[in-house]
């Protein structure tokens, strides 16, 4: 993966930089020892590593503004970091950058149940947002698999989704306001506890901008009343195509489940070995979950089961207890981790129109044979968000490159059938060089104009999202 050339003039400023940062932050919040900076050398895309020049851990908006102003003055690029769980390399440093980590900013600032909002510092983890309100019967809806660790800052940067977004939407649909600090230290309040801006919807473009427009320090999030209950049903099929057809039929029938998850045989076996979720051994497994009171759940599941039966499932089983339901979800949510136990893997994230599922699954199988790499499929079928896991051996020379080439072919296929490169993980560095397959130069230019306004010097996370050749002239203004 190509990264910009390290700027020796910036490296030469390290002592000045550290001294100035130490004036505005406590000593333990400025990390510059070469060994200690290694803790920030990568995120969850572990194939790429590079220790930063320094890392800082501010505690509030004012300290973030101070840090950014100093880096802006000195022309030092800044890479914001949530919890470092990005699968796309969104928080990958360069050797001449400062990592700005929000991990120490995890306070709850306000909870208002009448307005159904919570305002938090963005270093707070996704699950602990729900943790702050669940005793009172509320929850925060977006639920990425990494929700135990991932920070709201990263969720906003990548517009994260999760298994339940078929019903509740992704981060952008649950975000009401932010405090954002621009690269020059300007603090801007956008949105708030109300819905929908009168003026331009800047909140909408900040969400998903991968830390390139500013550092979001505080966020106002929509919280929702917890449903009375939820129950998943497992539906197994002996063919991937039939499972795909069943998904489309369920959606067309007018019942909208809260989640429809899909796993193929490879993943079912890996997960079952690890989590003992009680999954049947079959070609394709759907987890369909509905919510409501017991009677409402019965009513919806009766409809869904009737549809499923028309497709001759090899297994059709409702969870009988909350323990069993928890196991079923634990299995699904540990799919990435369980795969990681047995192999190195690359996780893709393309989204396709649901109707193209059979064609794309067949295409992935063919590519798996062509490249000689195993692929497991686990994904959010309700919204067409695929997660092919390509397994490779990091110790085998050339295997990573082979895996990346195959991944690129799969993502191109997703775009070809009307989909996109990434549904919820973000572009980062991982899909950066594929952007030209989805967008014209004019499409990307329109996006980059927005960054030109927020960060005219292109110092914030500059080597991500857009192909380096495309951003060359803009980044060049730095020096």
């Amino acid at each position: 993966m190509e990264m910009p050339k390290v700027d020796p003039f910036i490296l030469a400023k390290k002592a000045t930089l550290v001294a100035r940062l130490s004036e505005v932050l406590p000593a333990d919040a400025v990390i510059h020892d070469i060994e200690e900076t290694r803790a920030y050398e990568c995120d969850a895309l572990t194939a790429y590593r590079c220790p930063p020049l320094a890392a800082v851990l501010p505690r509030n908006t004012r300290e973030v503004a101070d840090v950014l102003r100093i880096c802006h003055d000195l022309g030092v690029p800044v890479v914001p970091r949530g919890s470092g769980t990005s699968l796309a390399g969104g928080a990958l440093p360069t050797a001449d950058c400062v990592i700005l980590g929000v991990a120490r900013m995890n306070d709850v600032l306000e909870v208002d149940y009448d307005d159904r909002i919570i305002r938090v510092q963005t270093g707070r983890t996704n699950l602990s947002v729900t943790g702050a309100v669940e005793a009172d019967g509320f929850f925060y809806a977006p639920d990425p698999s990494s929700q135990l660790a991932c920070a709201i800052a990263g969720n906003i940067a990548m517009n994260s989704g999760g298994a339940h977004c078929l019903k509740y939407g992704v981060t952008t649909n649950n975000l009401l306001g932010v405090t954002i600090v621009q690269m020059d230290g300007t603090v801007v309040e956008i949105g708030g506890a109300h819905m929908d801006a009168a003026g331009l919807d800047l909140l909408g473009v900040i969400c998903g901008s991968e830390g390139q427009l500013g550092v979001v320090t505080e966020a106002t999030l929509r919280i929702l009343p917890k449903p009375e209950g939820a129950r998943p049903v497992l539906i197994g099929f002996d063919s991937l195509e039939v499972a795909g057809a069943c998904v489309a039929d369920i959606i067309k029938a007018g019942v909208l489940p809260v989640a429809i998850e899909f796993m193929d045989r490879i993943i079912i076996r890996i997960v079952e070995d690890y989590a003992h979720a009680g999954y049947p051994d079959c070609e394709a497994l759907l987890i369909v979950e509905v919510e409501g009171s017991e009677a409402e759940i019965d009513e919806q599941l009766a409809l869904i089961e009737a549809i499923a039966r028309r497709h001759d499932p090899v297994e059709l089983r409702q969870s009988q207890s909350s323990d069993e339901a928890a196991k079923i979800w634990l299995g699904r949510k540990s799919a990435f981790g369980a795969t990681g136990r047995i192999s190195d893997y690359m996780c893709l994230d393309g989204t396709i129109p649901v109707s193209e599922l059979p064609r794309v699954l067949a295409g992935i199988t063919a590519l798996s044979q062509k490249y000689g790499l195993r692929v497991g499929n686990v994904f959010h079928a309700g919204d067409g968000n695929m997660h092919p896991l390509i397994m490779y051996d990091a110790n085998k020379p050339g295997d990573l490159e082979l895996c990346e080439d195959m991944g690129a072919e799969i993502l191109k296929l997703c775009v070809e059938v009307g989909g996109c490169l990434t549904g919820e993980h973000g572009v980062g560095i991982e899909k950066r060089d594929l952007m030209g397959h989805q967008f014209t130069a004019e499409d990307m230019e329109a996006q980059m104009r927005v960054k030109d306004v927020f960060d005219p010097k292109w110092l914030l996370n500059p080597a991500k999202v857009f192909p380096l050749a495309t951003t060359q002239s803009r980044r060049a203004t730095v020096a």
Partner: protein
Amino acid sequence: MGQEGDAVLTPTTEEDLADIVRGANGPLSVRGGGTRGPLPEGEAVTTTGLTGITLYEPGALTIVARAGTPMEEIEAALASENQRLPFEPMDHRVLLGTTGTPTIGGAVAMNVSGPRRVQAGACRDSLIGVRFVDGTGTIVKNGGRVMKNVTGYDLVKLLAGSRGSLGVLTEVSFKVLPSAATEATLVLDGLDVAGAVKAMAAALSSPFEVNAAAHDPQSGKTSLRIEGLEGSVAYRTDALTKVLTPFGTVTSIAGAGSADLWRAVRDGQAVAGEGDIWRVHTRASAAAQVVADAKATASLLDWGGGLVWLRVPEGLDLRARLGPHGAQAIRVRGTGAGALPPEPPALAALTDGIRDRFDPRGLFKAGLAG
């Protein structure tokens, strides 16, 4: 104002529209169906030549249409498959006494969102893709036809509600939802605004999936809607009645009566009449204060109080009356104060910077005034 009888340019392709924008020598007065009252100054361009549903896949909950497609055509196509737009867009003709045919592009340009916004999100939340011609005459696409997409920046949201100031929309894509099998509305009578906001908060905080909550201070009626499968609506009607009983006597309205009630709320009927019309976006718990400070001729609360419709005497500067609660007050009809509220300097710098880059010649600026 655009004059009657002026030639209106009606491009029928995106390329023709791009040519018009590239060749423009002065402000353009871009309109869809023209249902929102006075049109901006400038050379008249309409999107009504860009029509037709280009893709509808019920199994993928996706519809794509050209921007000038009449709203009723979209809604009819969806209804034939028992689906609908989640955000329940209003028809401005009722409130504003205008004529014309609402278009899907117009709804997007204004981020028009009705009562279901409180649960299912705004127009911008259902919008998953746009194509548009920016102020340089360049055709730009963003998003697409899939409902989960974080590839590049989300200009889809930026375009929604931008009032045509960044470009002319040519095609829009939506995530749609199944229509509800049944609906019912629970009504509380005689609450004051503060009491109504409390009752609506209690309903919206219950697990019974209330998807609309409105209060009409004129009639004193507070309405809460439930939709879903028949058994489910029956169950939740009972359960929600128990939640609401502390606030007063609860009556219920089913079927067509319920649908009529929400159509009236959606279209802001309660504030229709002589005078200026405003809408105020506020945190719901401040809605009673907004109504008290506004001293309006007529008012209506939607979105559980998050949206306050107000009718005030002509030329009144409502924002001056509302103070900080008027920060998101939008003038929908009238004169005097600007349609959009002024923004704090740091925010205004970003907004202006983006508008200047998408529309460097200021061709679309006139649209912001109205």
